[in-house]
Symmetry: C2
Subunit: 442 residues, 2 copies
């Protein structure tokens, strides 16, 4: 019998990340410079990113990249993550399908974000840097980076969107326990922040503004010993997140289980890209016809309603342009949207795979997603993050398809994290005040 | 090499709980009735507690009690918990000691409380009851019971101390997601609540008052299909928590590791009792001389400053009396005490073991405890609950003793849970506003 949870032995953990681009014959279009539209070079990226990370960003050929031992030692504090057989959910749905989920929430950051934070903090330290800067909205990425910075001994300066800074003081407290410096954005610390404050003194802040401040703080630091880091979207982040998929594949192989469908939520795309990495590699090599499903919010549907074109990665238009599915870099999801996954674009690697039909996509409204989350919590015990619950909803629907067709498929989905800091949204769902909003370009 | 984390195979999980009393030649004094001072009988307890739980409460002879399969299936959703080798902490302390901790926080309730909630909800359902009532202060126990109630299909009515209900709406939201009904206490639902409200309309509530309401709500329910359940102190709870110690022992035995010192935080005592269960059993049989250390807060020091005598289990003096170390059932810890473990008494089983010198005890101030918590979080990754951090502080001090003496001892401590809902206290510690208060009888 398959156990409730498959935990790998530490000796079975991956010692290399998998670089999806290395398996693609038809590569994603390169990042281009906003100044002249030419492909970004290493020299364009290293003033902003750590050298090793910039090199990973541009590496389109390596199939695997070795995980440095200190990163793997840190991973061992919170990895392997369990691959859970959802016996209870299968029974409740009365489906012939087998359902598994890879659960990434068993660490203090509460999500998979720590997989990439570990790598980025390590490379910063290895390069002799003093500090890294970043932005955070709800705070999961900032928390993950603070934890990794504390472990590797590199400073972490977080620009936190002002409204979150004020409404989520506990998230900030967690980052500060790990020694990070947290600044509400917009701030007086940067020219970008000062200019926004001058124009809008009472602004709540935005992720776009926080990105601008974090990039400026890194690139204008006179010591030259600070770089900017980012928690999703970029190819380097998808690369680091491949540990999720590699562990999943090893665990499935160990029990001779062949997945038919793999499902992940998709915001910037790093979790989904990481989860599917080894499976899409086989598909690209013609060795597998596994279905790969991205699930996104109906009110921020970059894959299902966006255009595939070059766009800025940020709202402030200071970053390079990436070819991706995008709702436009000015897009802001409806204020009534509580369920995370608010990014206007999608990982360039995933965008290309979607465009080439290796991946399919679907979207759900947030009340559909929260209903699935509550059902899941009662049956399987874990209270999921609203982001993760998109994948739960997708898995439930596909398992119900199997019930209709009588097919005994193997469904695997990514449960990226826990919802302990999302209780305001859960409270709104439970008391019936949560609203759905249709997508409209803005 | 010992792995960073030892996870047992599901087939290695215990199928019996260990009943410490069964190994004691000199038994703890019995619970007595407040009316006539005679020992409580099964008939005294079953109107309040589920039949099977009342029987467990009075069972002083069985060494082991079988874990029903449905409970073990539920355990498999969040157990085994990992036994972690604290390599990072050992390195940071530069100690020759080996340090291990058993981590119980990887579930949505955030603590070990779910081990007993699972059992209590199961037995209620098996007896054909409709619902259970309980009280909760900070909310960990209430959350655990809500999760177990949802899983087994039994209603859960929680009386939550009013000040916590108002200040911690997110905790309440979690319980409601799992289908529990949460009432701020004092309430109009019970005679006890109405009488307190009449006398003190603006009261914040207290745990003592919430206990009175929960017991009254259970015993006056006309259907006869409701019972009261409790998250600590009682022998039945210590029994269920023995899964912690049994897993720990199996994991240590698997690698041939013999513990020299075992350390746990102690509030009501169920976590410590569960952790040490198989080890104290060996000690009682003269097969081991392992040191067993209880760590308690300096401002609520029931073992180190209390008296060993009969006392009420609750403030309202409606429960039976237990012979235990107690600060007096009227004792209320200083308002500046943020670190949990606020109970006036101590498990009768642990009290007897302490009185007979099988266990030792020590206490720390809360700033000492939070300093240890922050150090631990940065090194080992996990942000601990303040309660759990008492054990961390004890382990650090004993590891530093080993550094002085050069002894390569094996130290095991219990990390009972995570501190994600305790960030207010962490924030006070980080900004320097946390105060220590000496213990004074009140």
């Amino acid at each position: 019998m398959i156990p409730f949870k498959i935990y790998l032995d530490e000796r079975e953990l991956p010692d290399k990340w998998l670089n999806i681009k290395g398996f693609m014959k038809d590569k994603p279009a390169p990042l281009i410079r906003p100044t002249d539209g030419k492909p970004c070079t290493l020299g364009d990226l290293t003033p902003v990113f750590c050298d090793a990370l910039a090199a990973q960003e541009l590496d389109g050929t390596s199939k695997y990249i070795e995980i440095p031992k200190p990163i793997n030692d840190f991973y061992k504090l919170f990895r392997p993550s369990p691959l859970v057989r959802a016996y209870g959910l299968e029974r409740a749905l009365d489906t012939p399908a087998e359902i598994y989920y890879k659960f990434e929430g068993n660490n203090t950051s509460g999500s998979h974000k720590l997989n990439s934070a570990a790598a980025q903090a390590y490379y910063a330290k290895a390069q002799g840097l003093d500090a890294v800067t970043t932005e955070t909205g709800a705070g999961q990425w900032g928390t993950a980076l603070a934890m990794a910075g504390a472990y590797f001994g590199v400073g972490v300066n977080v620009f936190m969107v002002k409204v979150s800074y004020e409404q989520k003081p506990f998230r900030r407290n967690v980052m500060e326990v790990y020694g990070a410096s947290v600044t509400p954005s917009p701030s007086e610390k940067t020219a970008a922040g000062r200019s926004i404050l001058a124009a809008h003194p009472n602004t709540d802040g935005s992720l776009g503004c926080a990105i601008s401040e974090a990039v400026e703080a890194a690139t204008t630091d006179r010591s030259g010993k600070t770089r900017y880091v980012l928690g999703s979207v970029l190819d380097q982040v998808v690369l680091h997140q491949s540990v999720i998929g590699l562990e999943t594949k090893t665990a499935l192989d160990k029990y001779g289980i062949k997945p038919d469908v793999i499902i992940g939520c998709a915001g910037g795309g790093s979790n989904l890209g990481g989860l599917i990495a080894p499976f899409v590699a086989e598909k690209l090599e013609g060795k597998s016809d596994v279905r790969l499903v991205a699930v996104e919010p109906a009110s921020c549907p970059s894959l299902t309603k966006g255009e595939y074109r070059y766009d800025y990665c940020d709202t402030a238009k200071i970053t390079p342009l990436a070819k991706m599915y995008t709702l436009g870099c000015d897009f802001i999801p409806s204020a009534s949207h509580a369920g995370g996954l608010r990014y206007h674009g999608m990982s360039p690697v995933l965008s290309k795979l979607y465009h080439d039909k290796y991946i399919e996509a679907r979207s759900y409204t947030q009340t559909q997603v929260f209903a699935a989350a509550v059902e899941f919590a009662k049956i399987e015990g874990t209270l999921p993050a609203p982001e993760s619950a998109h994948a739960i909803k997708g898995a439930i629907d596909i398992a119900l398809d199997c019930k209709k067709s009588g097919e005994k498929k193997v469904i695997v989905f990514g449960l990226t994290g826990t919802g302990y800091f999302d209780m305001k949204a859960y409270g709104e769902f439970m008391n019936g005040s949560m609203k759905d909003s249709a997508y409209s370009a803005n």
